[in-house]
Amino acid sequence: MLGQILVFGILVGALYGLVALGLSLVFGVTKILNVAHGELVMLGGYASFWAFSLLGLDPYLTIIISFVFLFLIGAFLYRLIFSRTVKLPEETKIKNTLLVAFGLSIILQNLALRFWTADERGITASYLGTAFTVLGIRFPVVRLANLVVAVFFLVALQLFLRKTYTGKAIRATVQNWEAASLMGINIHKVYLISFAIGAALAGVAGTLVAVNYSIQPSMGLTWTLKALIVMVLGGLGSIPGTLVGGLILGVTESTTSYFISSNYREVAGLVLFLLVLIFRPQGLFGVKEG
């Protein structure tokens, strides 16, 4: 039974890691704490839902649509809103981006409500109910896919940052933006691309949420919170750390649900969050500044 709980925790945790991946990338590069990240997950969910129900695409194929759609939305939001706040001096910048992102989350929620009503929607395809059993442990296809998709995008992001010129420009900007701009790297373009990729990753997570659970306009805050917890657990700036952080949160939640009560699931996550902040503020895998 314990094995089953661990496996479930890990498979759900992979999704948490994916949700946090985009938030962490955006924060690491631009220092924008985008508290509207959960709303971007929601938009990704709807993009997939409509692609699935109107075009009849396979649920996992709709990932392409949610990725591209949210990439564009991210680029648009950065141009329209965040490009103005990142230019501010450090302290004002953090305050203002937080406020702006919070306002944005409310706007996106209400737009979604207006366009798609408050009805819960979900993606259910024929094969989604199936499961494998290995050594007496059940592996539902849907949950297993979380891990596959999360690892795929994690590796892809890592390769992008390490192997491509654009990726290297992003890393250089994080390490020393002044030197990076002296190389002729356009810092604002780096920020724009990073924000758009962060949004696109939120979109992919949205697809998984629509397949695993259900989507509705007000779902964003829950996912923003989870992403924040995972980001702090994993450590800022550590991409593999983000996935591990997600797995830890997933396992904490699943064991709490089993041994205590599922009502306390979220509480356990927040307690873990506080403990990490108190005893290891740089996160489990983060490196100290400098």
């Binding site: 010129y165 290297k168 420009a169 890393r171 250089a172 390490q175 020393n176 002044e178 030197a179 990076a180 701009s181 002296l182 190389m183 002729g184 790297i185 356009n186």
Partner: protein
């Protein structure tokens, strides 16, 4: 080659440079000297396009570049080594150099540029896969200069290349700068180490409080009263 005419530069409301004019001819080594806060770095940052002049004109190879973005200026052939190097510490030596050739024009000739940099700084070639953050102070400075050379500049601007180096390394550093200059790269040098800078440079400008207060050959400046009293004792 580079000619600056009466530029005023501001940080927000604060004026940092007043009517700075200077001239750099092809093949020269020009030193920009003066006390801390005189505006030496600000001048370099303005030439490289990080800051924009509020008034005045900057011309490079007969083009007005005062309003151009940094990447355009790098492509035209100006490259700046920032103060204390500012290498990308978390990346390998090779990746640092690669980023030096970021602009499209330089990227096409990355291979030749890399060979040239390794020839000037063989140490960098030995350490190419090492993390830049693990290099010694002198090696970091070499990497910063090598990185700047990767864009194939015709004008190289160095901001205090001797900063924080042991005296023997300072001497080596100035030898290397001389060597780079002999290969046909014009050099604009900002230095606190006045004596060494004046020994190396063909001409120099003295900056104080955001204004040019003296200029001439190294000899002229050494005899300049305020330089003597403030820096050479």
């Amino acid at each position: 080659m580079l000619s600056i005419e009466k530029i005023d530069v501001y940080y927000r409301e604060l004026q940092a440079l007043w009517e700075i004019s200077l001239e750099v001819n092809e093949g020269e080594i020009i030193a920009l000297i003066g006390p801390n806060g005189a505006g030496k770095t600000t001048t370099l940052n303005t030439i490289s396009g990080l800051l924009k002049p509020a008034k005045g004109e900057i011309r490079f190879l007969d083009k007005t570049i005062g309003k151009e973005p940094v990447n355009k200026i790098v492509e035209l052939g100006i490259s700046q080594v920032p103060e204390s190097g500012k290498i990308f510490a978390g990346m390998s030596v090779y990746e640092n150099l690669e980023l030096g050739a970021f602009v499209p024009k330089a990227r096409k000739e990355k291979k030749q540029s890399l060979e040239r940099v390794y020839e000037i700084f063989p140490r960098l070639s030995e350490r190419q896969n090492q993390q830049a953050g693990t290099l010694s102070g002198g090696e970091r400075q070499m990497l910063a200069i090598g990185r700047a050379l990767m864009s194939k500049p015709s004008l190289l601007m160095l901001d205090e290349p001797s900063f924080g180096l042991a005296p023997i390394l300072v001497e080596q550093m100035f030898e290397m700068i001389k060597k780079i200059n002999q290969q046909g790269v014009t050099i604009l040098l900002v230095e606190q180490n006045i004596q060494a800078a004046l020994d190396l440079a063909h001409r120099a400008y003295l900056l104080e409080n955001g204004r040019i207060v003296g200029q001439g050959t190294a000899k002229d400046l050494i005899s300049f009263e305020s330089v003597r009293s403030s820096y050479l004792g």
